[in-house]
């Protein structure tokens, strides 16, 4: 009798361990999307204060349209990611992982993580900004294709599971993102629409590739070391390569990038918000990697993809409700889309028929 009870306890304990790991993976992936929304909100807040308010507003600094469109956005990302990299180094040092960070950089998975960071950081982010400028807000739902691309790439590159049920779930999540993105669709589509849409696919492909490659890399690299590599690579590449390239293209030479950088980082009204956004970005990306490595790219990226809801949600909550700024109300369709998205995520995670079977039993 005792042996039977012991065996039952053993099986129950094993089931509990597996289910705990699975639930933690989903929780981590969902939290990553929430932190993504928080980091975007505080980044937007920082980029509406001090010198940024002038650049995007009255423009007393007399910056050209090219500089405001491309370079200022890249500078915002560069400062956010660099500060985020500093946060990551501090957290890694506190947890005694700084030595492993430098050791990992010299290895093959470390180099792959750097490549993933370059693709997802400077390349995709710039493609996104450029696409947004060329084609308008129609590119937002296109970039929401990145979980589907990530899942397909993970199937090809890492032989991860991808069943028709999971593909259906991804399609439902995409539909939900499209519903949210469609609220921004309007008569803002300029002449470069087609090229802009094509460039948006580069962003979606880059983020999809980053998610599945870095997620797989996180099965070998500690996720806190992975994110330190990601943010320092992305921050430095943006700051030392991308922003100067834009400055040179704008005809202002390298000096323009240092001038704007100094103006931005010495602005006491904007910088505190960048410190906050950089902090949230640590968790937006580290939990994304961790979630993808714990539950596979298909489910991990779908849970993270809920950022297309969390972004507008935190913008409404923090900028609209708390700070009283106008124009951040969430349209009703976005709330409906959030429910649709939850259904899509459930569909990827499990067979809905299992729920019915459990009820019957």
């Amino acid at each position: 009798m005792n042996e039977v009870t012991g065996a039952a306890n053993l099986v129950a304990a094993k089931k509990k361990l597996s289910s705990k790991f699975f639930k933690k993976g989903i929780t981590v992936a969902i939290l990553s999307g929430m932190f993504y929304g928080l980091y975007s909100t505080f980044l937007m807040l920082g980029m509406s204060k001090g010198v940024w308010a002038d650049w995007y507003g009255p423009n007393e600094a007399m910056l050209s349209a090219f500089v405001i469109t491309y370079m200022v956005g890249a500078l915002g990302s560069a400062i956010n990611d660099t500060i985020s990299g500093i946060w990551c180094m501090g957290i890694a040092a506190f947890k005694g992982k700084l030595g492993d960070f430098f050791r990992t950089l010299k290895t093959k998975p470390g180099r792959i993580m750097i490549m993933a960071a370059l693709v997802g950081g400077p390349i995709s982010s710039t493609a996104y900004v450029v696409a947004l400028q060329m084609a308008g807000s129609i590119v937002i739902p296109i970039t929401a294709l990145c979980p589907a691309i990530g899942a397909i790439l993970a199937r090809i590159l890492f032989k991860q599971k991808l069943t028709p049920r999971m593909m259906t779930g991804i399609a439902i999540c995409f539909l939900a993102s499209f519903m949210i993105g469609s609220t921004g669709l309007g008569g803002d589509a300029p002449a470069g629409l087609l090229l802009g849409i094509l460039i948006a696919f580069i962003a979606a492909f880059g983020w999809g590739l980053e998610g599945c490659v870095a997620g797989y890399g996180t099965s070998m690299i500690d996720y806190e070391i992975g994110i330190t590599i990601r943010q320092t690579t992305s921050g430095l590449a943006n700051l030392l390569i991308l922003v100067p390239i834009f400055a040179i293209l704008a005809g202002g030479g390298f000096g323009l990038s240092t001038d704007l950088f100094i103006d931005a980082v010495t602005d006491a009204s904007a910088m505190p918000w960048f410190i906050v956004s950089g902090f949230f970005a640590v968790f937006a990306y580290s939990l994304w990697y961790k979630g993808n490595s714990m539950c596979g790219a298909a489910l991990g990226m779908a849970c993270n993809g809920a950022y297309s809801f969390w972004g507008p949600f935190f913008l409404w909550l923090i900028l609209g409700v708390v700070l009283g700024q106008d124009g951040w109300t969430i349209p009703p369709i976005a709330w409906v889309a959030a429910v649709v998205m939850v259904f899509g995520i459930l569909m990827i995670a499990m067979n809905p028929l299992d729920l019915l079977k459990k009820k019957e039993a």
Binding site: L17, T107, K108, P109, F158, S219, M220, I221, I225, M294
Partner: protein, 88 residues
């Protein structure tokens, strides 16, 4: 010296099977001062390896303290992947 997570995965390419306690015991000489060399973190690291097809479960039982003990191994393909990414 390798990063701790590499050493955990690499350990499975040198033994027939191992549980989290075995890994901690084997690595505590070199990594004893690492905060991340604890049972909870090592189990998570092993299960992440399993989720990504690097390791597979072999069996499980209860230890002397009545705690669940799960054993894993690196199958041929998993070991080959670990060895191709993580060199000695």
């Amino acid at each position: 010296m390798k990063p701790l997570n590499y050493a955990i995965l690499k350990h499975f390419t040198t033994v027939k099977e191992a549980c989290a306690d075995d890994v901690i015991e084997a690595l505590k000489g070199e990594y004893g001062s690492f905060k991340a060399l604890n049972k909870k973190a090592v189990i998570e690291s092993i299960m992440t390896g399993e989720a990504n097809g690097l390791l597979e479960e072999t069996r499980y039982d209860m230890d002397d303290k009545g705690e669940l003990r799960v054993y894993y191994r690196a199958h041929a393909e998993g070991a080959a992947t670990i060895n191709s990414y993580i060199k000695d």
